[in-house]
Amino acid sequence: MTILGIDILADWFRLSVVTVVLPKLIAAASVTIYVALLAFVGALVIAIPLLWAQRSHLPLIARPAVFLSDFIRSTPLLLQVYFYFFVLPQIGVMLPAIATGVLALSIHYGCYVSEAYRAGLEALPVGQRDAVIALGFSRFDAYRYIIVPQLIPFLIPALGNLLVSIFKETPLLASIAVTDIMFVAMQHGADHFQYIEPITLCGLIFLALSLATSFVIRVLENAASQTWLGRRNIRG
């Protein structure tokens, strides 16, 4: 121990441990990224029929969809993961752990994505809808050429935040033995009784992931606004 505290740190955060753990963690990060991205895409897709069902005029379709979404959003993801992992096999559906994790995350976040879609549609000025009807666009053309292109820049930040949340919740899947980064870190801890280094490294890797995600979001936002939102500044 020295006054400067450097040695205290060195005691806690041993380079020898780092060199062993870091490669393992980086390899495991690929699982985390793979699961999170698949789940994100799944959520984007699931949200479409879900929103459609929730907005249906038929109560027989709308009510269950609304209830389902509320139920899923108000119970812990961990619980849902356990449910899919342990209970589904009892009715004969035996998905591998990773697939179960992706399914659970997709459904859970699909409910949030559908809320984001809904917010986007509601934020669209009513005048746009009036204009689309007044000009006689078909429903499909209206979505394709007028509504969706306007929603995308609106959705990017919200969806980006959800992606970050998915990354953050992927470690939960360690509890059903998905060998993601957190699983590997805790496994290393349990095998070698070295926890601080793997935990800290995990934190740094997550920070990096989230910085990367933010960066991509910003690039996409810029790209979207290049086309119309951002031209504001050229205004004469």
Partner: protein
């Protein structure tokens, strides 16, 4: 110098022990009080040391050793196996119970598992283990690949996975296996029988249970060992063993020394 753990617990009359809520070692009863063979033996021994009160701190199995080292409690009374890798981290008391492994499978043993050779022959067979459990080392020595091992963070998840068909077998002590089969009522799981246990270095695999302490607390370990030895054979001691169906055969002979078990 700073107060040692021994001095502190003697002064306070209270000691905290970590446990993983696993029968029959240490577990919470429905009324919230603690029971279990490790807990009750620890209480008897600590009473001898002049520490009348033993409080339990429940932790995940994998957090027992880190929790002890981090100081969340002063000792482990959780049916922890004495293993060389663990000896390097913490100080064990002399072993107080010896037990063999038992293997639990789904009812009817659908994959026909009677030895680890059967596991090696069929890569579809998955073994459920607990993160940080001692048996992983054994599987490694047997050459069972990682892909056949499924690790969970806690004991409840392992058996849930067995029940739901996520894994095909789990190893545990005979105690735990019996408890589980009894709790299940024979509807979904059973002990694999017969099952040929592995032999390492000419010795059948026997597990020794020991109480765990921080390495700095050698004085406490020494006094605890003395206390544990001194209560052996007392009626109180026999009553505790009897309560949990532990027989004389489960008590290691005095020749079995911690130092030997800790050798790689």
């Amino acid at each position: 110098a700073a107060e040692t753990t021994l001095e502190r617990i003697k002064r306070d009359g209270v000691v905290q022990v970590g446990f993983a809520n696993e029968k029959p070692y240490s577990f919470k009863q429905p009324d919230g009080s603690l029971a279990g063979v490790d807990y009750e033996l620890a209480r008897a021994a600590f009473a001898k040391l002049g520490v009348p009160k033993v409080e339990g701190v429940a932790v995940k199995f994998s957090a027992l050793i880190p929790g002890l080292k981090a100081g969340h409690f002063d000792a482990i009374a959780a049916g922890l196996f004495i293993r060389p890798s663990r000896c390097a981290e913490i100080a064990f008391a002399e072993p107080h119970i010896q037990i063999a492994d038992a293997v639990t499978v789904r009812k009817g043993n659908p994959k026909n598992i009677h030895s680890y050779d059967d596991v090696l022959k069929n890569p579809d067979i998955k073994i459920g283990t607990q993160q940080g459990s001692a048996s992983r080392k054994d599987f490694e020595r047997l050459g069972i690949p990682e892909s056949q091992l499924v690790s969970f963070q806690d004991f409840p998840e392992v058996f849930f996975a067995l029940k739901s068909g996520r894994v095909d077998l789990t190893t545990s002590t005979i105690f735990a296996a019996n408890e589980t089969v009894a709790a299940d009522g024979g509807t979904s799981v059973e002990r694999a029988a017969p099952f040929t246990l592995p032999v390492f270095d000419g010795k059948p695999s026997i597990n020794y249970l020991g109480f765990g302490f921080r390495p700095d607390d050698q004085d406490l370990v020494a006094q605890f060992n003395d206390a544990l030895r001194s209560i052996k054979g007392t009626p109180e001691y026999d009553a505790i063993l009897a309560k949990y169906a532990i027989t004389a055969a489960d008590i290691p002979s005095p020749d079995v020394k911690l130092a030997d078990i800790c050798k790689e």
